[in-house]
Amino acid sequence: MALGPSLIRPVRSSCIRCLQPPLWQKASTQSVSRTFHQSSHTNSSEAAVAEEQRPTVSYAFPRTKVYEYTRPQPRAPVKHRETAQEFKVNDNQAVLDEMYGKLLGPQGVNILTPELRWQAVTHASFDHGRQPYNNKLAFLGRRILIFHANLHILNQTQFPSATAQTSPKSEPSATISSDTATYLAPTPFQHPDYKNLDAATYETVGEYKNGDALAKFAKAAGLHHVMRWKPMNPGNLVQSGIDTVVVDCVYAIIGAIALSRGGFEAKKFVTRLLEQRKLSA
């Protein structure tokens, strides 16, 4: 931490960097909009109206350059290292809303507040995490998807693969015996509450975790060009993991809907995803 003005004796830090001119000298002249303990982020619908008037989201104070304080002149007259290519991402609200319309349906555009709409499609790599990003939303959304996939299989009336795999090679024998005695062979207990429980195995539910179908669904909605991220190699997006990031964004949209509107709304979106998957499979 930097040495700051203090009437009490200052702490002598062992860090030399503290003696440099502070990087945020310019920032401290700006008025501090809020103190530490005020809530800095609200998702209420009243704020949404105010948010909608803003064209883009600017959460942190705007920074035009990476560093405010730069050297007065370059060290060498010629740069002999490739500069990092800047990767352009979408910053247009209309393009974002169009994508949400394709993903959630025409009524679905306003399910999320504009801030959440941006946050759900922003990856942590974008702007080094200075803008609100979606890692925790994706974490919750993935859990919700797996849970609802399980319920989806459970509530299906007919699941063909269930009965075929578990039938023995011959008709079930009437008795089973241990080393000491022979018993009546037990029959599986049936109950209406079980529904399609026997089909909802780890493997069948795990098929819905597969990201390929989700990535295809997202591609159809145009999420690849709308999400905000920073690839490792702008020349090869697939190698940089665009599909993983896109699937994270889909999960994050599920999570954002769940946290802001409740599990029922999220279930509607997830059911739409699962139905699409069934059609494509």
């Binding site: 079980y194 769940a258 509107r261 999220a266």
Partner: protein
Amino acid sequence: RLGNALSLSGKRSLCSSFALKLHTTMARPAIVAPMMAVLDLQLLGREYQPPVGDQTCLGYLLRIRCPTTAGAACSRLRPSPCGTLGVGPRAAAAVRLSTSAPSRRTYATPAHGKGSSSEQLSLPPSRSPHTSAKLSSLHARLSLSPAFPLETLARCLIDPTAEPNPKFNNSTLSNLGNNLLGYYITEHLLAKYPRLPLDVLRAAMHAYISPPALFQIGREWGVEDAFEPTLEVDAGLLQFKRLKPGEPWGPEKFFKTGDKSALEPPAPTTTNKNQNGDPKSASESAAEQEVEGIPQSHATANFVKSVFAGVYLHESPSSAHHFFRQHITSRRLDVSRLFNFEQPTRHLSRLCAREGFEPPVARLLSETGRRSKTPVFIVGAYSGEERLGEGYGASLDEARMKAAVSALKGWYLYSPVVAGGVDRPSRMEEEGAWEGGRAFTSVFVDVGEVIV
């Protein structure tokens, strides 16, 4: 051997070479190595097996219900088959040892009093839930509703390692329970501590619902395990196949052998056809029949997850969440101890920069004993005039680090206070959410951890 002491115990006078000294010591008899008998049961594969099955009536008499008669409870006495000693090749030695015990057949009353000569078969004890007192008491102890049948609870106790047929084991139930618990705990933690970093969130989830935690819960519920999952064990015991002593499993097995399949759950082997669709040969069947064991902790955890799934299926989603609150979130976890900051001062500095606060500054609040062996410094982390956190330490740097950590924890452990309690997404999926319940109040969504 001392001097000329040849024979057995007794006092001996011993003369040393120094004639002036005369030692009188008790000479112990020469110790001869005893003839050790290697007992058959000490060899590998023949260790002593405690008798499996019901220990209450010692297996003399078995009071069972006829599965064929409907309505009236017809209980008859039937001699148990050959005592309740363990069955299977591994327990053959134990059987041999017990031949000296009085023969139990003499005490058995002839139970075929009705005069029928053919012996009526009954369900094996491990698959007949209504004969088990343990199962009924477990059901009552957990306060499960009458809508939750004993058969489901019995199915929850059967691990896939004990029973490969998925219609009898708890694999599907524990999968559903796992997904249910994961969903509930994630939404609970995100609602309670919205700003937790993802690593800490994962650690907190692990603390609540990982197999070791669920194992503790299962033990608190009083679930006992059967030594070996034979047919004669009580239906109220947890049935699973044990690992051999020292046998690695799961991640440990992966580290030792490099076998990646140890990290995945075991594939179900219920078909009698191999991958190509042809009937399996004898060698393939034999190879697959060697079922791998499971640690006791994971078997108990699977049982606990299955019970949650059973409550969800048989009772209701709101009942399942109530059960979850009673058993999981009622447990105390100090989330503040799960943090591990690498450079707390730098982290705090980046947090303040991102949020637009004044840059953090450390100020010495008070100190004592600077030049002594045990100094104490109290340092505060300030942002402008506001103190973010305080820390004490034996050195200035330590106190400064602690102050930064305290400030960061103050940020990340923010817990919103909402009138009427923080809402949870799963509430809207329960019955009664729309008819009379209140509308969903949105949960605080955090912008993400500071990336230093």
